[in-house]
Symmetry: C2
């Protein structure tokens, strides 16, 4: 039994993660578009941040963040302040309305998975938590600049 054969493993993991994400984004009902919700969550995690910091944390381009921020700003969900240390940069932070919007999104996302999670017993919930940890660890490992590179290219 080579169920853990690395070759299929990466493929299977990405496929399953993508499917779950796709299903949730289709069935969770909240008004906030997906990318904006993602950015709200990121801002909540990081606190007031620069545009470029958000882009790096989101693994997206700086112009993508700029565009989304304009929408969030128009909705009154974020506000900008000039970075006191650098007049080129701005510090973006959530407004109270932004936090409310984020809470709405979270409730909707919890609700969409609740039917599946509610039937689970303790051990099953532990398995879910472990799965989350695996995803996070893999992403951290993958996104991290390789610490002990094989230097197959200089």
């Amino acid at each position: 039994m080579r169920v853990t054969e690395p070759t299929s493993l990466g493929n299977d993991l990405l496929r399953s993660a993508a499917r779950l994400s796709r299903w949730a984004s289709r069935h969770a009902s909240f008004d906030v578009p997906f990318a904006q919700a993602r950015l709200l969550a990121l801002l909540d995690e990081l606190g007031p941040s620069r545009v470029s910091t958000l882009a790096a944390a989101d693994h997206s381009s700086q112009p993508s963040i700029t565009t989304q921020l304009h929408r969030l700003e128009a909705a009154g969900w974020v506000e900008r302040a000039v970075d006191p240390d650098d007049a080129r940069a701005s510090l973006v932070s959530l407004t109270p309305a932004g936090k409310d919007a984020l809470e709405d999104v979270r409730r909707a996302r919890v609700a969409v998975l609740a039917p599946a999670l509610d039937g689970l017993d303790g051990p099953a919930l532990v398995r879910v938590r472990m799965a989350i940890d695996v995803l996070d660890e893999l992403l951290a490992a993958a996104a991290e600049p390789p610490s002990h590179p094989t230097r197959k290219d200089g």
Copy 2:
């Protein structure tokens, strides 16, 4: 310790799955656009299928599938045959070129996670496989019409 508290669990799971997916789609280098790759994989799994079957399996709308199929067809990766049982319907299937393209995508996706997976030992790989199973089970449970409803609304 309520690390398995269901409320945060759904949220955390969706967030982690979405982040991993996003990261992979940004870093995996293959020419095939994401949605087309997804459809190729689905066709490979299901074999010759109707448009509406693909839409249901992909949890997407029928017009979305139609659009993607047009592109796949233009690329020579799928072909259509009229369903002998129903002249309205078509049966879509992968061409050999389509299977080749799918293999390329798979290789690229494996490669993007390989640096993170290669460093893992046996038990860690088992954990990854378990995480995949959790994702699949949750999606199946969530997408399934509830089999034993609590009938809190009638």
